[in-house]
């Protein structure tokens, strides 16, 4: 059974009138040796990690980033990067933090998922490795931390038991065509569902308990690739982004398109559309103008368009789950932090 629409998400009381997105300041954080491909915040918002085509992963401590961004920061430069991991042989595709412990996982083109323990200052290598059969495009921990799900070139997500490394598949997946590689997989807050965004343009919702597909939104982004998908905290809606330059909000219970966030072109990269921490806003990227575009989540109105400050369009955007701050990763190899000006 799918656990749909039980909770209220906090904060959003007004309806109708478009809110304004607070001003942010931005700062260049760090530079990879190749394109910065992905970023992920830890669930407590204390850390953020970035993965790159140079096969490295950098781990940042948010408090250090903030310290670095202080206007009168002390002369001694603060280094927000607290760990760098070099263990993959191919570009990093996605990252996730363990919900409880100090473990970071990465999925990479080298068909592996690697586990890094960032509590140790010296460890640069993974302490566990899952060898998958496919390019691991997306990884997400189950909220229990005992499972993880991997989206790969395989059209069905791979569920791994973290303790035994046993891999499970849906027993009865729907018919998926040849172009079913999964661009992104994300769990809902309770683990009751997960969502996949595929190259065939479909968004599929899967039951977290049985792994059966409970809803396929085929053609969610018509024939263009669906590049990202994530749940609202109340598990009632899914936000998806596609190479058809649309960002869409779907109601899970009915599969209905509830909202569209238009006006940002993204046709090339694996573009992300994400919620702000309060879910009041939706953030994505306009590739042609190299801007970060922000919509009011409720009204769908565009509320801000900011130059990304990257050279060339940013590749990834990820918002902090706990505070008004986000991170952008660029094809220019750099990582930028954005935070609300207080």
């Amino acid at each position: 059974m799918v656990n749909v629409c039980r909770e209220t998400s906090a904060g959003q009381d007004t309806k109708g009138s478009t809110k304004s997105f607070p001003k942010h300041e931005t700062r260049h954080l760090s530079e990879h040796k190749n394109i910065a491909r992905c970023a992920r915040f830890s669930p407590d918002g204390m850390f953020v990690a970035t993965g790159s085509a140079d096969t490295s992963i950098k781990l940042f401590e948010i408090s250090k980033i903030k310290q670095m961004m202080l206007p009168d920061s002390k002369d001694g430069p603060v280094r927000p990067v607290i760990r760098t991991f070099y263990d993959h042989e191919q570009p990093i595709n996605d990252l996730d933090f363990h919900p409880q412990s100090t473990v970071l996982i990465s999925g990479a083109k080298d068909n592996t998922i690697k586990f890094f323990d960032f509590s140790k200052a010296t460890a640069k290598r993974a302490f566990r490795v899952i060898q998958d059969t496919h390019n691991v495009r997306s990884v997400a921990f189950h909220p229990s931390g005992d499972f993880l799900i991997a989206g790969t070139d395989h059209p069905v997500a791979h569920l791994y038991d973290v303790n035994t490394f046993q891999c499970y598949l849906s027993a009865n997946p729907p018919e998926i065509g040849v172009n079913g590689a999964i661009n992104q997989v994300r769990y809902s807050s309770t683990g009751g569902m997960y969502v996949t965004a595929s190259k065939d343009g479909a968004i599929r919702l899967w039951d977290g308990v049985s792994a059966s597909c409970v809803r396929s939104i085929v053609g969610a982004h018509r024939t263009a690739e669906a590049t990202s998908a994530c749940f609202t905290k109340d598990q009632r809606f899914v936000l998806s982004c596609g190479k058809d330059s649309t960002v869409k909000l779907w109601e899970i219970g009915t599969g209905r398109l509830v909202k569209q966030y238009l006006g940002a072109t993204h046709t090339q990269l694996r573009c992300q559309a994400v919620f702000s921490d309060t879910e009041e806003f939706v953030l994505s990227i306009d590739e042609s103008s190299n801007e970060i575009v922000i919509w009011d989540a409720l009204t769908g109105e565009k509320v801000a368009k900011w130059p990304s400050n990257h050279i060339g369009s940013p590749r990834w955007i990820e918002h902090s789950p706990t505070e008004p701050a986000f991170i952008s990763c660029g094809t220019d190899r750099s990582v930028r932090f954005w935070k609300e000006i207080l």
């Binding site: 997946p173 683990g191 509830v258 879910e279």
Partner: protein
């Protein structure tokens, strides 16, 4: 967390108080004072310093302004006001400049004065990490003293030596230079003596230098320009607080392993810290308790007195101070503090009354406490808490249930309408086992309290009956409760009939339940569902068209904790992903599944080709890098040959055979030995450490050597978005990839074949 304790210790600051501590306007004011004549700037400084009494930079600016106009008396006066509170090296150097100037022309007497001033200064700020130049100046000064005869000369030398020896064990920025100077000094005095002395002091200096390096890390975190403002939530303030806490913890660890001086260093650090965190009660408290723990009560008392001067409104600090005084027997002084907490009648809190009554009871006996209670009753700030506190004191401490009962009864006159008071009273009565009176009390309260305030009373009443009553009274009270509360939001209409939940609560005891937690979850979910049966329709209508939120208010918010329960995957409902198992055979149930897994299986099948087996066996031994060894073992000539191979579109020549011949011929090491009999090894399924999946996939030599390195990766970067050649490739995809790899950078066209898909199913054409 540390930060939270700090935040919660914060005094509520009114808006004007926040304005008062406006750092920007203070800086502007101080800057403007710089350009004014002293007569005009003095009041500005006085004003600034009344707000920031520990702002050494303003003191210094002020005193320098006075010094410029040679206002000696005023200068002295300012120094006497600030020096001891501001352990700030630049300010103190200002002072020494002033002293030296004043004593310059006074001959021997003046020199003696100056020396005293130096000693005075170094006893206060000599431990500062920035005190290096002061030590140097001091030593230079000592050296410059005239010596008329050899005796005086040797006295002077001793003084210089002493100064050096103190300086080189102090972790300062200039410690290395000081050591070099000291070496030179000793060597210039006497080569023979120098050796012994230097070797004695070398280890002390080395340890001080090591401590300096460590200390510097902490000191660098601290903003020495910060003005002391009350704690805010700003990140910067919190970081500063953390930085200071770290520094203090470091000093408390006595890093230099010195005995006597370590306390001095800690005191010094606290004093400096309080210059900046002047308004932080936690620092004051830590400092005072540190003193008290070390046995120096008087010092602790002094710290508290200063703390109360800094934070006159902090009740916490007053209680802390009173506690210290009381525990060391200084009752009058503690009493004075309590009285100051009570303040004037208008602002007294009930808590202050209660604590004072307890204090009196402890130190002056029952009668004094009673007297004060009688007075306090008349105070407008006397709440039911005071009655409860006094009654419980009489009951628990004086063992006098009668007095306690009377107090509670007296309180009933005033607090009949306070459900919490009723509950306290009932608790007290149940301690007496006086069930008749408890029932009477409940009935009395329920008859007078409005419905919405009686929920808790009802709850306690039913609990009481569960403990004291028989089955009939128990059920009766529960039924009465339902009827009484049926209209409130707390209990829905449906709750009127007895539910299973009531039974559960009747038959559970403490943390023992007559059912499993799963049952409980189930029941609460059902309850929630029944509550929302009516709402369902309306809710979906609400979400119509927009709104990523569910605003169905408090009921749903209450349930969110329950439904946030994590749902775990039930792997028994899934199939185990095991490419090996599927090899060559039909795959479970439906067609799509076989569709998905067959490509993998067939790749695995291809892998069993003997060609690749060497790497298989080596991978089984655990190291993923062994395949790289194979490539490394490949002679350079072969690599060169491979790299110069042209990139081929369309049907490829049978490179496998070429490569296999090459590999088998040229492997010089023992690795080639293992190439026999390997199919059987593979099927026995080695890989002990991990699951089937990883075990089986280990038979794919996935780790590959990056000949093209990053340049190559650059190119692959966007390959996932490029269109991929979807026609089936003719041969084992793995080996094709190996070849492409080996060809390295020269074969940029090969980017059209996705690496990631190499294993998955180029054979079936399902690339990307």
């Amino acid at each position: 967390m540390k930060l939270e304790t700090q935040a919660s210790n914060r005094n509520p600051t009114s808006l004007s108080a926040v304005d008062k501590y406006n750092v920007e306007s203070a800086e502007i004011l101080a800057n403007s004072a710089l350009h004014l004549p002293i007569t005009q700037s003095a009041p500005i400084y006085e004003q600034l310093l009344s707000i920031f009494p520990t702002a050494a930079k303003y003191w210094r600016q002020y005193v320098e302004a006075q010094m410029v106009v040679n206002n000696d008396d005023a200068t002295k006066q300012i120094f006497s006001r600030c020096l001891l509170n501001c352990l700030h090296v630049p300010l103190w150097r200002c002072y020494i400049r002033f002293i030296r100037k004043a004593n310059d022309k006074k001959g021997v007497e003046g020199q003696e004065e100056t020396r005293k001033a130096f000693d005075f200064m170094l006893s206060y700020v000599g431990a500062d990490i920035a005190s290096g130049p002061v030590w140097m100046e001091y030593i230079a000064f000592l050296k410059s003293l005239p010596a008329a005869n050899t005796q005086e000369e040797s006295q002077r030398m001793t003084a210089v030596r002493k100064a050096y020896q103190k300086a080189i064990v102090t972790p300062t920025h200039h410690i290395e230079q000081l050591w070099r100077d000291y070496e030179n000094f000793e060597n210039s005095v006497s080569r023979q003596l120098a050796k012994g002395l230097l070797s004695e002091y070398q280890p002390k200096y080395t340890s001080a230098r090591a401590v300096y390096r460590e200390l510097k890390k902490y000191v660098d975190e601290i903003d020495w320009n910060m003005l002391a403002i009350p704690p805010t939530d700003s990140c910067k303030d919190q970081m500063q607080w953390v930085a200071w806490k770290r520094l203090l913890a470091f000093e408390k660890g006595n890093p230099q392993r010195i005995d006597s001086a370590s306390n001095k260093r800690i005191i010094f650090s606290y004093e400096q810290c309080l210059m900046y965190l002047y308004h932080y009660p936690d620092i004051w408290y830590d400092y005072a308790t540190w003193h008290a723990k070390g046995g120096s009560m008087d010092a602790a008392v002094k710290v508290f007195q200063r703390a109360l001067k800094a934070l006159p409104d902090s009740e916490m600090l007053k209680y802390a101070y009173a506690e210290l005084e009381e525990s060391r027997g200084a009752i009058p002084s503690a009493k004075k503090l309590y009285e100051s907490i009570l303040g004037d009648a208008a602002q007294t809190t009930a808590l202050a009354h209660i604590q004072f009554i307890r204090f009196l009871r402890r130190n002056e006996g029952v009668e004094a406490a009673r007297k004060y209670f009688l007075d306090a009753r008349k105070s407008p700030s006397c709440t039911y808490h005071v009655y409860v506190a006094y009654a419980l004191m009489a009951f628990c401490l004086d063992k006098d249930p009668k007095v306690a009962h009377n107090v509670f009864e007296a309180g009933m006159k005033h607090f009949m309408h306070e459900p919490l008071y009723i509950l306290e009273y009932a608790d007290f009565l149940s301690c007496l086992n006086d069930d008749r009176n408890i029932r009477a009390l409940f009935e009395r309260a329920l008859s007078s309290l409005p419905q919405e305030e009686s929920i808790e009373i009802w709850k306690r009443f039913t609990q009481f009956e569960r403990t004291y009553g028989d089955l009939a009274t128990m059920l009766k009270v529960e039924q009465r409760r339902k009827e009484a509360l049926s209209g409130t939001s707390e209990e829905g209409d449906s709750a009127l009939e007895t539910s299973l939940q009531d039974l559960i609560s009747r038959y559970s005891f403490k943390d023992l339940w007559p059912c499993s937690s799963k049952d409980l979850d189930h029941l609460s979910r059902q309850e929630w569902l029944t509550k929302n049966i009516g709402k369902k329709v309306e809710k979906s209508a609400l979400s119509d068209g927009s709104a990523a939120t569910d605003k169905s208010s408090s009921a749903a918010a209450g349930i969110s904790a329950a439904s946030l329960k994590v749902l775990r995957p039930d792997t028994s409902q899934m199939v185990i992903y095991d490419p090996k198992q599927h090899q060559g055979t039909a795959v479970p149930s439906n067609t799509t599944a076989s569709n998905l897994s067959n490509p993998v299986a067939s790749v695995v099948g291809a892998v069993s080709n003997p060609l690749l087996n060497p790497s298989v066996s080596m991978l089984d031994s655990g190291s993923a890098n062994t395949f790289d060894e194979v490539l490394k073992a490949t002679p350079p000539a072969l690599i060169a040959f491979l790299t110069s191979l042209p990139a081929v579109e369309g049907p490829t020549p049978n490179v496998d055979i070429v490569l296999s011949i090459c590999l088998q011929n040229d492997l010089p090491t023992g690795q080639a030995k293992k190439s026999t009999n390997l199919p059987s090894q593979r099927t026995t399924g080695p890989a002990p450490s991990t699951s089937d999946l990883s075990g089986s996939s280990k038979s794919h030599p996935i780790p590959r050597r990056q000949l093209g390195k990053r340049k190559d990766l650059d190119r692959q970067e966007e390959e996932e978005s490029t269109t991929v050649q979807s026609q089936p490739l003719p041969r084992d995809a793995f080996r094709i990839r190996q070849m492409q790899k080996a060809r390295g950078g020269s074969a940029s066209q090969t980017g059209s074949v996705s690496y990631g898909s190499a294993l998955s199913g180029d054979l079936s054409g399902s690339t990307c």
